[in-house]
Subunit: 367 residues, 4 copies
């Protein structure tokens, strides 16, 4: 039943429904001594916040985080960091008409099946709103990782059929573009495509990708807690994600051993690989190349067309979904993927610190 | 560090190296009262066993399982079920030449990075041999699921560029075909393709898929232990898997909300869906449709061509890999995917039994 | 590092420092459909609240709980229940004088050793104030258990040398007496003893006990998650507790097999025991007799006498502790023990629901 | 259900029944690079082995451990260490007469209640024989701890009414005395006492204690995974243990704050305490003093007198227990307590390595 926690040593627990009073996150196991304030969280939350552009719902969420514990005199204390966001602009009345109907593509039916009933306001716990809590934890994890020289950057690879060209990738382009694509031209075309879809009362999917740079070789815990296995759980746990790929991903099924193998080479900086088909992970352990995680995201299920469905009493009926919805989820979900990846690699890094007895001795001798 | 366990209530722990004395699995949390003997395990292990056909290595593994605990008078007792397989036919000398070289596409380099050194015989713990232990647990989970009317069936969808037609799917075809494809013609073409690759000292990848039928709606634990999230961890933890897809998977990125949404319909048997783009899971919870999990598998990294690499001392060098290797991993990995899926859904089913207070009361009143 | 969660399926996570802005608890895995409101929590919090009587500190804590998620239309939804209490009456200035001194009997020194620094205001995370969050979870667990006919009742067995006579035990006496003793005369004597100690600037310890009635036989998970083992972790995790006993506890060391064995007898209501030396648990599993957990509590370490100690710089010095402190911890800790016991047995009950395949089938067939 | 694992990062899983074919332990998360062989395990197993003296059952157990994985060229590899012991001298016929009777003081009734049936041969999983697997893990943990300069030593404090004088404590006396008491005179008196009990077909209990020396300050994870809380779970999970005390333990209930507080003092070697009433733990974190864990053990429930009981059909009857049984459990259980303490503190040490960001940076920079 208890499925709202993630991580073994840097462990997060999220709580809160879409249209409840508040939502939040408890981060347990963050090392002590890291500078942290609400200012570190806001840029992450702003990237997820709706109402910022034409590609997102006009619904407003204040998303002002408040750190309630675990930070003292500006630094983490090692005790649980509790962060809360109070909800506002709750048009929960929007959902009264459909509280007994099962929205296609949504979790209404499955929540009712599992729990016997549900908070029908805006999807309740199954709403994308829950991810605000993950983004808080992602901001904290990213802060810790940045102290270690590790960067985690996600971006939109595709919006519907429009694919981004990564050859001129820059973080600033990603942050500036409404689609979170690292390609100015593709961004423009995607905006047009989305505008057209909105006119047709339809929605589209897309692809998002995350690149983790600066990871040393040796992180990940075979055989079930392999780094790629936990990244896959992390990514697939984001609502609307339907595929996860590492490195070349699905392409490997059509490649050959002779081309897919990344040959090693010795350099002044150490052992590296000539190519990175593996996506930075071999045998579930980081190999020091960039770690690449890619996800496909389904089209927003809330569309304003009339759809066939069933009600709680088990009768066939029609449904019309009102309210304000994103025509595509990807632009706002990119920071959620980035957050989940940051949490996962930080947890793996901390959990694996004791892999060699020599390291244990060295830490112990300084205690 | 400890990453060799999987599951929360039906929990498995695997151990053993490729060329060690033995390998095995401890299955903790299996309900008491299930009939179980070695006879239930052997068919699963046989599907994974090498040396059965031209598509697999000629290496022989005895793979005779012995149940050492947790079963009494032919039934599970609820206590840990320990199963062991002794290794035989260990040509570990094959690996002496390359013990200081990092095989491209293998985990030699990353294990050395993490642990400081490694058991170099046949990949040690990172060998595909480890999955024999998973298959044991999968056989047990499948046995329990079959008592509940749930079937879990995996098969090869593609071998390199050759794709199977699923329209005449039958379990017996899958079990009869050397490639584990559910398509006699594709199987024949794939065998030719593989034979050609072997002549070229090369290897190929493929796609495998698992279908879980008979799952009731309501299984899965939001938000991080969503059923699809745990299936993704389970599937990606299998060596050589580089992508995981649920239902339509990567295709959703190019679909529209109006077509991707599965509309509900009321039937005499209850609420179902007109289509199954979702792959049987909504909001991380089963929706009673078939659950579809699909994985891409990379080409076998062990190929007999000379490759560039680096040795333990950090010097550039060449490597020639001898020994007996599968030209494609998929045919033998299909049962591993099936096993991991069975373990995951059984664990989710048991873990979620307490989701409604009415169910808890009803169980309690019979105690 | 992450040690603020407890439970496997009914899992609680507490957060918050003594003099921070707020503290709280996230309860994940509570079955859906249980009636719950703040009114259920307040009586539990009131029993822990200081300022109620002469035996407790005059410090005031508002302790007004607010449920922020997981309850909809008066019933639990199965999703995480987040409850917050805002702190008030924070005399954190009381601690400025001693922020660089290590209070004897407190965790100041060990927190500094572990984390490098600490929130020195009132003990921060190591304060007894943290237990308010446990009591919230205990109230929820007790509510669920009461629906199953299980009662969990704790009381003071001894205050310093004064022992309670249990022969006239009643819950109402426990709740009415300032000491939480189930004995009016002992309560009066204990109050005198405590008044005398206050005059002497000293403090005392005591014994508290919890009785769990109505548990069916068959709950608990050998071998490390035995019911008594988890109750011991739960009880010992309460600050100031220094011993845990089950049933006859320490007395068994001097008893004989012939007298300590509880003989079974058949009754109309089923199999029971003639005596209950075992304290309701055999082999880590409930035996249907009352479960008895008993703890010794150390004297409040904060006393207003001058004591020798060391400062952060490692220099010997004197310390005078000001502020308002309980002369004895037991009366307010009784509800914390009750809470931890309720959480533990509910978790064990839910976690063990799948122990028989027949039960699994029966639940599954109704899904 | 799954309760056979213990530890978060140094995680052990035990399996095996008393009279099954074998029993064993899987140790996951042991740091790589530690010298280890069967020779390290045997002295621990010998201390637990029956048949060594007059105080123990004459039953013989071969207890020859075999390491099957996780060790290569004499060193741990960081992968799971699987160790097996094959059972021999299985007089399981001894139990045929009583297979439908519930032995008083044993777990027969509760196992039947939980699982529906049980392996009745010698207690099956509830037998003390299970602890052989714990001792294996304890030997490995002790080996690792010894490399860090930490010693873990347990001994018998009391056998029935006879208490040991600790003033002349030496490890060699403990190992030489049949009772595991660190006092030659008490050992002699205890042997007489036990001989007398055997004549009377009775059994007795006792007290065992473990002292952990060399632990640095700062180990333990508040608030539920406090070091004393996990030590309590560990100790109470040993069959027959009915109380756990830390430091002064139950005595604190009658002490005063002015005497129970351990005052700190600065010394050349760092901050220490003038006394050690706390038993080496403050606020759940080690304080660098010796950690003291003390347990009361109940009398062996198997006695050869006729006792009243109930059979599986729920009828009152008599029972006579045959077979060979220890008149007191303590002498052989001492090494089990030592093992569980070693496992617990090593796990806490490894799990807490990431408590300070400075330590994380220092480890990371060397990767």
């Amino acid at each position: 039943m208890a499925g709202s926690s993630f991580g073994r040593i840097f462990r997060i627990t999220t709580w809160g429904e879409s249209h409840g009073e508040a939502l939040g996150c408890v981060i347990d196991g963050c090392p002590a001594g890291v500078s942290l304030s609400e200012e570190d969280l806001i840029p992450f939350l702003d990237r997820r916040k709706p109402g910022n552009s034409s590609v997102a719902t006009s619904r407003k969420e204040s998303d002002t985080p408040k750190i309630l514990s675990g930070v003292f005199e500006g630094k983490t204390t090692g005790t649980p960091i509790s962060v809360i966001i109070y909800n506002s602009d709750q048009h929960s009345g929007d959902y009264d008409d459909i509280k007994d109907l099962y929205r296609p593509g949504h979790a209404d039916f499955t929540y009712d099946s599992k729990y016997g009933f549900r908070d029908h306001r805006g999807g309740g716990r199954s709403s994308g709103r829950e991810t605000a809590a993950r983004v808080i934890a992602g901001a904290v994890a990213s802060k810790v990782l940045s102290e270690l020289g590790i960067s985690v950057e996600a971006y939109a690879r595709a919006i519907g059929p429009i694919e981004a060209d990564l050859s001129e990738y820059s973080r600033s382009t990603v942050l500036a573009n409404a689609t979170a694509m690292p390609d100015i031209s593709a961004n423009a075309r995607a905006l047009e495509y989305i505008a057209d879809l909105k006119n047709k009362s339809d929605s589209c999917g897309g692809v998002m990708e995350c690149c983790i740079s600066g990871m040393p070789a040796g992180v990940g815990d075979p055989v079930f807690d392999k780094l790629d296995a936990l990244l896959s759980q992390a990514a697939m746990s984001i609502g609307a994600v339907k595929s996860v790929e590492i490195g070349d991903g699905a392409l490997v099924s059509k490649s050959l051993g002779s081309t897919n193998n990344d040959q090693f080479k010795a350099t002044k900086k150490g052992i590296t690989k000539k190519t990175n088909h593996s996506g930075g992970i071999l045998g579930g352990i980081s190999d020091s190349s960039d770690i690449i995680v890619r996800c496909s995201v389904k089209p927003t299920p809330s569309i304003s067309r009339t759809q066939k469905t069933v009600n709680k009493a088990g009768e066939n009926t029609d449904i019309e979904i009102k309210g304000r919805h994103d025509p595509v989820i990807v632009p706002r979900a990119v920071v959620v993927l980035e957050s989940m990846c940051a949490i996962t690699v930080l947890d793996a890094l901390l959990y694996g610190m004791s892999s060699k007895i020599e390291t244990v001795k060295s830490v112990f001798n300084k205690m």
